[in-house]
Amino acid sequence: MRYALLINERPGAYDGLTADERAAITAEYVALMKDERMIGGERLQPAETATTVRIQGGRTLMTDGPFADTKEIFGGFYIVEAEDLDDALELAARVPAARLGGSVEVRPLVER
């Protein structure tokens, strides 16, 4: 089955880390990309760069920033091909954000 691992980061999770520590975490993300179960993944630019679009009464409304002001910010995703949910959850637990005050949401994809 295919799953999306939606990575939510705690803002400021990297504050106070040394350059070496940051590099080590980045290396973990890269290593995950090399797992045979990975179909793809992308990292998003910071939430400040987001623009949110809504159509109301036929007019396009745009707001600066992400759609919801939450404690965690959606920061990227992986798409994986896993045996079953246990398999996908195991990958999710290896995403650094999960232990750095963030979380990883595991969502099955709609199979077409």
């Binding site: 799953y3 949910l85 099955p108």
Partner: protein
């Protein structure tokens, strides 16, 4: 008679059909249909020698029929790679695989909400009907039906596996199963609903049978039996009776002996987990006189394992017997358990022993506000009146 057979067979038949169809919904429907056919036919022709196999094979036919009617669904199922079930029910009972352990792990998967795990376990393994489960948890039938449907939908859509978890996941997953069973037991025990406690005991027995190498499962069964042995003595005239005031003639010695034997075996195998320790405490509490220093030491160990404030509260009760109420109160007052009724009733009892009547009165009143059952209320009201 038929009902008893059905109850005994349900879990195995349902497990076999989940395994065969790879889909909990199709399995549920097929199992229900197979049992309906059996009810009619067996009442007329008598029960076959191989009731379980008969039900499984009949259920397989029903599942295939349904999938033929509903091709869209069928494409998604593993069923189509399966050999067709035979036309005749020739399979004997011994050839029937027992996949109830896999079913335990499925129903208690941590990706499901706790309340859904409990409901699914009672439905799939206990064979309880949706209205029965709804009544047990004091929710409407509609709510329970939705809860079960949502859980089944998630199992399918999220790909929750039917199988024995991978080696490195096993300890945590077994713990999840045990905690669901204990929850069911406590729901029955706390509210004095014997049927639910008995169901938890029955299911835990099955688990112990299926996983004989797991001493914590045996520890949980021992804990349930030892607690349950005192059931008849816990309430008198609609009022809670404290351990030291219980009529020991009302205790079920058969259950105590069985619990003790299970506990001894688990201890001999080096098990020292939370359920085994709690069972050891329950066993000590059935002895006369109670070895309070040993009870306090076991609560120490349990505190290391769980870090729970409720455990600390229980340890304080043992400390009161060993070192006196003042030492116990010092422990209790350091716990932030203001919303917990036993915190206040324990404090009240300690304050009463220290002759602080005003303090005891206030604590009993607070416990009364938080009491959940009539039997508790009566007990607390009487204590308050005695001050």
């Amino acid at each position: 008679m038929l009902e008893e057979i059905f109850r005994d067979q349900w879990a195995r038949v349902f497990a076999a059909l989940v395994s065969y169809t790879g889909d909990v919904d199709v399995a549920e429907e097929a199992a229900q249909e197979a049992f309906a056919v059996a009810a009619e036919r067996w009442a007329r022709d008598g029960v076959p020698d191989n009731p379980g196999a008969w039900l499984v094979v009949t259920g397989r036919h029903r599942a295939i029929d349904r999938l033929r009617r509903d091709r869209t669904h069928a494409d998604k199922l593993r069923l189509l790679d399966r050999p067709e079930p035979g036309e005749e029910v020739t399979m004997d009972e011994s050839a029937l695989p027992d996949e109830r352990l896999e079913l335990f792990f499925l129903c208690c998967h941590p990706a499901l909400a706790d309340e859904a795990q409990v409901a699914l376990t009672l439905r799939a393994l206990g064979g309880l009907s949706t209205p029965e489960i709804a009544r047990a948890f004091l929710v409407s039938e509609e709510t329970m039906k939705r809860r079960l449907t949502r859980a089944r939908d998630k199992i399918r859509a999220a790909g929750i596996p039917f199988g024995i978890p991978r080696e490195h996941l096993l300890p945590a997953r077994l713990e999840a199963v045990l905690s669901v069973l204990y929850l069911i037991f406590n729901q029955g025990y706390g509210d004095g609903r014997a049927d639910l406690a008995a169901e938890a005991v029955r299911l835990t027995r099955i688990l112990v049978e299926l996983a004989p190498g797991e001493p914590e499962a045996a520890g949980l069964l021992a804990l349930m039996l030892l607690h349950d042995s005192r059931r008849a003595a816990r309430v008198r005239d609609g009022e809670i009776v404290l351990l030291h005031e219980q009529d020991r003639d009302l205790w079920d010695t058969g259950r105590i002996e069985e619990g003790q034997a299970l506990l001894d075996r688990a201890l001999a195998r080096g098990a020292r987990g939370a359920y085994v320790v709690q069972a050891a405490i329950a066993a000590l509490q059935t002895e006369e006189p109670i070895d309070w220093p040993a009870v306090a030491a076991l609560y120490d160990r349990l505190r290391e394992l769980t870090g729970s404030a409720v455990v600390e509260l229980n340890r304080a009760v043992a400390v009161a017997e060993v070192e006196g109420p003042r030492a116990a109160l010092a422990i209790v007052d350091g716990l932030g358990l203001d919303g917990y009724r036993y915190f206040h009733s324990t404090r009240a009892e300690l304050l009463r022993r220290l002759d602080d009547t005003a303090g005891a009165r206030a604590a009993y009143r607070r416990a009364l506000e938080l009491a959940t059952t009539e039997a508790e209320r009566r007990f607390l009201t009487r204590r308050l009146g005695e001050l």
